[in-house]
């Protein structure tokens, strides 16, 4: 769990590694030394796998009703089926719906972070690399957007645009980039002053080439670490929005929507609320762990900024 020391030990581990092996093997062996990394990647792998093979292993159709046996607690079974985690107001299996919901979480997390990451990195690169008045203007815009808390900004936009799954992904993508822009710009400013970049200029390389070949690769690791953090933030944001009725709409199954349903019956069917929440918590915890590990592994400098 200790980020500082595990970072050091990993650096040592890399240095002391004997003959160079294949890259996957190296990554795995480094990962194996960090319990946090192991836990994180295990959780994330399980969730991603569930998202893909969900329909195959799901005990019930996530939309399958059981009108006669509704609101049944965990462990209930009748002629229609058995419900390990209980069922909901239409008799739909909670477990199957949690499995189905993993798909949306993965989709939202990955796609919107790809969008926001791409925008943010480009924005930060331009701002940091061009500098001067452009940098100043671009950064004031970022300040302005940062001043409205992320979730409120997203609520305002999705409230007025009206969201579905794809709109929601776009909204999260197009609002999440702000975090990257700042960090990447900072990294660019640092890298820009480094000797080899100055040397590259001296050798007569074009600005574009310097940016793409020398600067971009050096800020990518920060971007990846940030992206891991943002995946968690995005999953939480999706669930909040769907919970408030401003996000994904039924019949798509998402954990946030399950919570929103469950809230209505919170006085009599706690399982409708408890289990989807646990699913979100575990998933985000996995992403947080993985992010912690990536941060130590790739880039100790970004710590604490996101």
């Amino acid at each position: 769990m200790d980020t500082q020391s595990s970072h050091l030990s990993k650096a040592e581990a890399i240095a002391e590694m004997p003959a160079p092996r294949s890259l996957p093997f190296r990554v795995l062996s480094i990962l194996a030394q960090s319990p946090v990394g192991v836990a994180g990647s295990l959780i994330v792998t399980v969730v991603v796998v569930l998202a893909f093979i969900g329909p195959v292993i799901s005990p019930h159709d996530p939309q399958g009703r059981n009108i006669r046996g509704r609101f049944q607690p965990p462990g209930y079974a009748d002629s229609v089926g058995s419900y390990i985690l209980g069922n909901d107001q239409l008799g739909r299996d909670i477990l199957s719906r949690i499995i189905a919901g993993s798909r949306v979480s993965v989709l939202v997390g990955v796609v919107s972070v790809l969008i926001s990451g791409t925008i943010g990195v480009i924005y930060g690169l331009i701002s940091g690399f061009v500098g001067g008045i452009v940098d100043n203007v671009l950064m004031r815009i970022v300040d302005g957007l940062l001043a409205i808390p992320f979730i409120i900004l997203v609520i305002a936009i999705s409230g007025v645009v009206g969201a579905g799954l794809s709109t929601l992904i776009l909204i999260l993508g197009f609002t999440g980039w702000i975090t990257y822009a700042r960090v990447i710009r900072g990294e660019v400013l640092k890298v820009r002053e480094m000797e080899y970049v100055i040397a590259a200029y001296a050798l007569g390389q074009s600005r574009r080439k310097v940016m793409l070949i020398h600067i971009l690769p050096n800020v990518v690791s920060s971007a990846i670490v940030l992206a891991a953090v943002q995946v968690g933030v995005t999953i939480l944001a999706e669930s909040s929005l769907s919970f408030l009725g401003l996000g994904v709409k039924p019949p798509t199954v998402t954990w946030g929507l399950m919570l929103s349903d469950g809230r209505q019956y919170i006085n009599s069917a706690w399982w409708m609320t408890a289990f989807p929440g646990i699913a979100i918590t575990i998933t985000v915890l996995g992403v947080v762990f993985l992010g912690d590990w990536l941060r130590d592994f790739l880039d100790p400098n970004v710590r604490g900024r996101a």
Binding site: Q89, Q264, S268
Partner: protein
């Protein structure tokens, strides 16, 4: 240790700040009734909006001339102690001697005229004037007598004159302070005065000693906004509130099993319908879906739809509703309880074979019916429109339709579909069920997009209803009207919502009103 002290200081400041703001609860011996209002609660100026659930609480605070009886049987006096017709187009109201507003201003004929003139003219964005367009002129006869002249004989005069906007406000005070200040510090003439107002959160009413018909029995009535039904139940079980409306089905056994709490049911005064699109011109439809020909243009398709829907099943899925075919609530005589509210008639109406026949008549081979686009809001008023739509879609598919269901949240639904007229084949409409305005909605010259259907003969019947003051003659006309309604199948009625209330019967005695208004002039203490 400086930094440690700084930390402690910071937290202390924050905590003191939080506690200093937190108001203390009132403790005294007055009887206090708390009703959980689902919100939102709109402004206190009663003439500035049409939000029914706000008028519920305004009714404690303001008198109207007359008011609907709680049991739906007729009308009762409020500011007017009696009223009569002078001729077909003139109604005379006799006011109470010495009656005043809470601030002492007299409730006299001039005040009544000022109020009705205010609400029947468009001022600013005050939107109620259309509902008051039936009034031609208000004439002050003497201090305590006022005549209302209508443009033509007006069948639903008493209904309309006790409708939203009927609340009387003191003219001199209003003109002195203006609308904004009036919304902060309203003045009425009803049995309760407003003791505390936390906007859209908590409204504390206290009994007014000088009310003309006597001080009400319960000292304090509080409307507390709690949007979530589940939170209302939690508050009820914890003893924080005394009454709620719309108890979720799974919580009902818990409440029934709790000492001192009782469940009550009454018509919810809302009905669910599907509107079928019967034209291609109205609303934004022609721009949004150019050249699209909705399947429901064909009356046979519409008839197939109405016979494909098992209304009893849909009502069951909704959780608290009774199946209906006509769109006026069953307790109104116009709702024709025998003919279209009879459960057996409705059960027979569901006839998949007949639906298939109509589809065949419309030229579709068995199992190859047209695609129906069905738009529905995710939270309909008073229930789960989403689940209802899902089951309705399954029923329609059973007879050969293909259904494309789109679920939106309520405001997106309003903006994107309902208000803009972007509905295709079917759209859910959750509506009030009074008969007064209904004939108007289906007139050829009615402007709102959702009701665009035109039949000259039907119009003639509707016009006759509007001006027939004799009740029996009017009900005969209604019978004809319903034939057109059912036959043209533009509005496909599904069911009438039933409200389920929970009441703290250990302390209070209350019968829900037929009109569904959560207003507590008649509230009594238990055992008295």
């Amino acid at each position: 240790m400086k930094t440690a002290r700084l930390l402690v200081l910071l937290s202390l400041i924050a905590m003191i700040g939080a506690l200093a703001f937190a108001p203390a609860a009132a403790q005294d011996d007055m009887s206090e009734f708390v009703f959980a209002h689902s919100g939102p609660i709109r402004p206190m100026d009663p003439h500035s909006h049409w939000y029914g659930s706000t008028h519920h609480l305004l009714n404690l605070y303001y008198d109207c001339l007359i008011w609907r009886a709680a049991d739906g049987s007729g009308y009762v006096p409020q500011a007017a102690h009696s009223w009569e017709t002078v001729d077909d187009t003139t109604w005379r109201f006799h006011l109470r001697e010495g009656a005043t507003f809470h601030n002492g201003e007299p409730v006299d004929a001039a005040a009544v005229k000022w109020n009705i003139d205010r609400v029947r003219h468009p001022i600013g964005d005050i939107p109620l004037y259309q509902q008051w367009a039936f009034v031609k002129e208000v004439v002050v006869v003497d201090d305590l007598t006022v005549d209302i002249h209508t443009n033509s004989p007006h069948a639903y005069f008493e209904n309309d004159v006790s409708y939203n906007g009927c609340e009387l406000i003191p003219p001199a005070y209003f003109e002195e302070v203006g609308q904004e200040e009036f919304n902060r510090n309203p003045v009425g003439s009803g049995p309760y005065v407003l003791a505390e107002l936390s906007e859209n959160d908590r409204y504390v009413f206290e009994a007014w000693d000088d009310y003309h018909s006597g001080r009400p029995e319960v000292d304090r009535v509080i409307y507390q906004v709690i949007p979530e039904p589940s939170a209302q139940v939690a508050a009820l079980l914890a003893g924080q509130i005394d009454m709620m409306k719309g108890v979720p089905a799974p919580d009902r056994p818990t409440i029934e099993a709790t000492d001192g709490l009782t469940l009550l049911t009454e018509s919810g005064n809302r009905m669910y319908h599907y509107y079928a699109r019967v034209d291609t011109e109205s609303g934004a439809f022609p721009e949004t879906f150019p050249d699209y020909q909705p399947a429901t243009l064909d009356i046979n398709v519409r008839k197939a739809i109405t016979h494909a829907l098992d209304r009893h099943l849909l009502a069951e899925v909704h959780g608290s509703a009774s199946a209906r075919l006509a769109r006026v609530c069953s307790y109104y005589p116009e709702g024709m309880a025998d003919k279209y509210a009879d459960p057996d008639v409705i059960a027979e109406w569901y006839n998949p074979d007949l639906a298939k026949e109509y589809l065949a008549k419309a030229g579709f081979a068995e199992g190859e019916g047209p695609t129906l686009y069905l738009d529905t809001p995710v939270v309909g008023r008073g229930g789960s429109a989403k689940e209802v739509a899902e089951v309705a879609a399954a029923l329609l598919e059973d007879v050969g339709f293909t259904v494309d269901l789109t679920v939106r949240d309520a405001s997106a639904f309003a903006v994107e579909v309902q208000r803009s007229g972007n509905n295709r084949e079917l759209m859910l409409a959750a509506l009030g069920c009074g008969p007064a305005l209904l004939p108007l909605f289906y007139n050829c010259d009615w402007s709102a997009v959702a009701y665009s259907i035109c039949d000259e003969d039907w119009d003639a019947v509707a016009e006759a209803i509007q001006v027939t003051i004799d009740r029996d003659a009017r009900l005969d006309l209604w019978e004809q009207w319903w034939e057109y309604y059912i036959d043209l199948t533009q509005t496909i009625t599904l069911f009438e919502i039933t409200d389920v209330f929970a009441l703290n019967t250990a302390e209070f005695d209350f019968t829900p009103r037929k009109d569904g208004w959560m207003t507590f002039r008649d509230l009594k203490l238990a055992g008295m």
